[in-house]
Symmetry: C2
């Protein structure tokens, strides 16, 4: 354990990095996947089971938590870790993304964003300073700067306006964050799908005193090649000695491709959301358990999986639970998916250490392409 | 382990009994509470967590399972235990109760009940013989006779007709059950709220070759005193050497009162259903977590509980999860409730062994009356 936030690069394989983020609440092995705990819960999972999948850190959403149960309330109850019974590191987003995608009657200006809650219509204001205050009240270990995220595709003019606003908000976020002992603050690269805007944003943020840099405004609907092209453009301008976090990404293949390009941290609702909708992620690709062909299939999803839930229940049973809309179906598939994501990250980390990332990726893709385990 | 079903009376305290049901799949300590696993899952619980609460046996519903996924399918997949990953004893009801309460366009005659599925409208027929066949296909350890259960209040004529039909179906069920090695078949006492009908039913069933006797047609809307009066009437006519199962009961107090009168086995959806609706059962009574007074309460539901989920999460957090309709709220409260029911049964068993049941019940009621732990 450390008293300060730090990042150490342990190994490289090409551009891919194996690292260790240290925080007073524990270490985060990178490349890392952070399960999303939107409303102070990784949906449909007990926190001890999230931990058991190998997760070192989870994410909390400022937008959701400020509206319900409220940041001041969480602080009075001892902070988000105690509240959700997760004593390990937590990263909070800044609210910037979700205030634009979820809230009603938004009004954005230089100061921040005024909006109405999607839950009860109550009025709120988010600014860089208030976002920092909320993240401090939640007592998260890694704070994110307040930013404006535009959807792709968008005009370059729109991307430029939002990027420059986000840079000014980055400065205000950094100032408001101050010298929070043991905590980290990450800046967020914006700039839409424009090469010069992305480079300008990355360079400006690299020159500020952040503990890590995130790449935002991707995985917002664009094709994978656009996202990867942006990574190729941005990453050379990010400081080698700071962790790099690609926000909201993604599919297992998105993650593999991004690790290959030097990304260290990821978060995405995909494994948890898919688990609530009858979809499983496995070493043999994605399996839709709604499909009637599973109804009589006694085989488990993956009898070689590390996760017992992927071994101990037949596809027929999972199909039955999904069809009957049983909560246990969501519980099992969510756990199986989060465990697979963590298994993939562990594999990537080991492969980078051993200098055999290319082979590992080839083997991983072979598994996905081969389709379900039964086809063996 | 035993190769045959058996029941041993270990201790008595007044009319209350401490016993042991033995089956080839494991023992059931009585008085026992059986969590309900309607559609091959105790809703919102992993089977290993059901076990960890202290449950020796769960219940499966013939009506639900015959419609989805289908008894022949479960048999082809290796039986219900393997299907739901619960290797311990399972009791199945006969379908008689739910076909009357859930299905559409029922037509009942001497032969059985023709009905349409509430799921997809498909047509089915349940008879004593088909019910036995389905329970055999599911491979349950304790089968229930096929019966007709009338709702209370009802006329004596209606109760009499249904009771006599149920007796004829009891004979057909017994014959169809045959000599299933290691399995048990229980008869079901009917007769509405009529003393002579209940006694006639109990005597007739006591004279047949059943492994245990159940009391059906109670907990169907009548006040507790009507239910207890029926127990006082029926139980003296049940054989001492066979286990007694009160179907569909009940609240913690219903269970305590029934154990006091000599009942050995119970099942009820109450702890699981309540858990999905924001209600907790604890040593300090029932707690409605929806209530806003919990919003800032840092205290757990019961810091002295055996169940970690009752100790490790604040009421404020549980309130938040319930308000936000988070699945984890249902998971935690279901587990807490099932664990409390099992803790209550363990307490009853120990008290009977020690001949201090009256004291235990007085202490238990004192806890419920005292209200929530915070009031201490």
């Amino acid at each position: 354990m450390t008293e300060q936030f730090s990042f150490r690069l342990l190994a490289k394989d090409g551009a891919a990095r194996r690292g260790l983020v240290s925080t007073p609440r524990g270490d985060i092995r990178t490349p890392a996947f952070m399960p999303v705990g939107t409303a102070a819960t990784v949906k449909a999972m007990f926190p001890q089971d999230v931990r058991a999948t190998g997760a070192d850190i989870v994410l909390g959403n400022v937008y959701h938590l400020m509206l319900r149960p409220g940041a001041e309330r969480v602080a009075a109850l001892g902070g988000l870790h105690k509240f959700m019974n997760w004593p390990h590191p937590i990263l909070t987003d800044s609210g910037g993304f979700q205030v634009m995608s979820l809230s009603k009657l938004r009004k954005l200006n230089e100061e921040g964003v005024a909006f109405q809650s999607h839950i009860d219509g109550s009025r709120h204001m988010l600014t860089p300073e208030r976002s920092m205050e909320i993240q401090r009240l939640l007592d998260s270990d890694i704070h994110m700067q307040f930013d404006e995220c535009v959807r792709l595709p968008c005009t370059d003019a729109e991307a430029e306006r939002a990027m420059r606003l986000s840079l000014r908000w980055a400065e205000r976020s950094r100032k408001a964050f101050g010298d929070a002992k043991g905590k980290a603050l990450f800046g967020i690269v914006q700039g839409g799908a424009s090469e010069p805007l992305r480079i300008e944003s990355a360079k400006a943020l690299a020159g500020m005193d952040f503990h890590g840099l995130a790449i935002g405004g991707l995985a917002v609907g664009e094709p994978q090649d656009v996202m990867l092209a942006m990574l190729d453009i941005v990453i050379p301008h990010l400081p080698e000695e700071k962790p790099r976090y690609l926000m909201g990404v993604g599919t297992p293949d998105d993650i593999v491709q991004s690790v290959l390009r030097g990304v260290d941290m990821f978060d995405c609702v995909m494994p948890t959301r898919a688990g609530r909708h009858g979809l499983a992620y496995t070493r043999f690709g994605r399996v839709n358990l709604r499909n009637a062909r599973h109804a009589d299939d006694a085989a488990p999803l993956d009898e070689g999986a590390a996760c017992a839930s992927a071994r101990d229940y037949s596809r027929a049973y999972l199909h039955h639970l999904v069809k009957a809309q049983e909560i246990l179906g969501m519980m099992l598939l969510t756990e199986i998916n989060v465990a697979y994501y963590q298994e993939l990250m562990a594999g990537l980390r080991e492969a980078i250490e051993q200098g055999r990332l290319a082979d590992f990726i080839a083997e991983t893709k072979e598994g996905w392409a081969r389709g379900e385990a039964k086809a063996l």
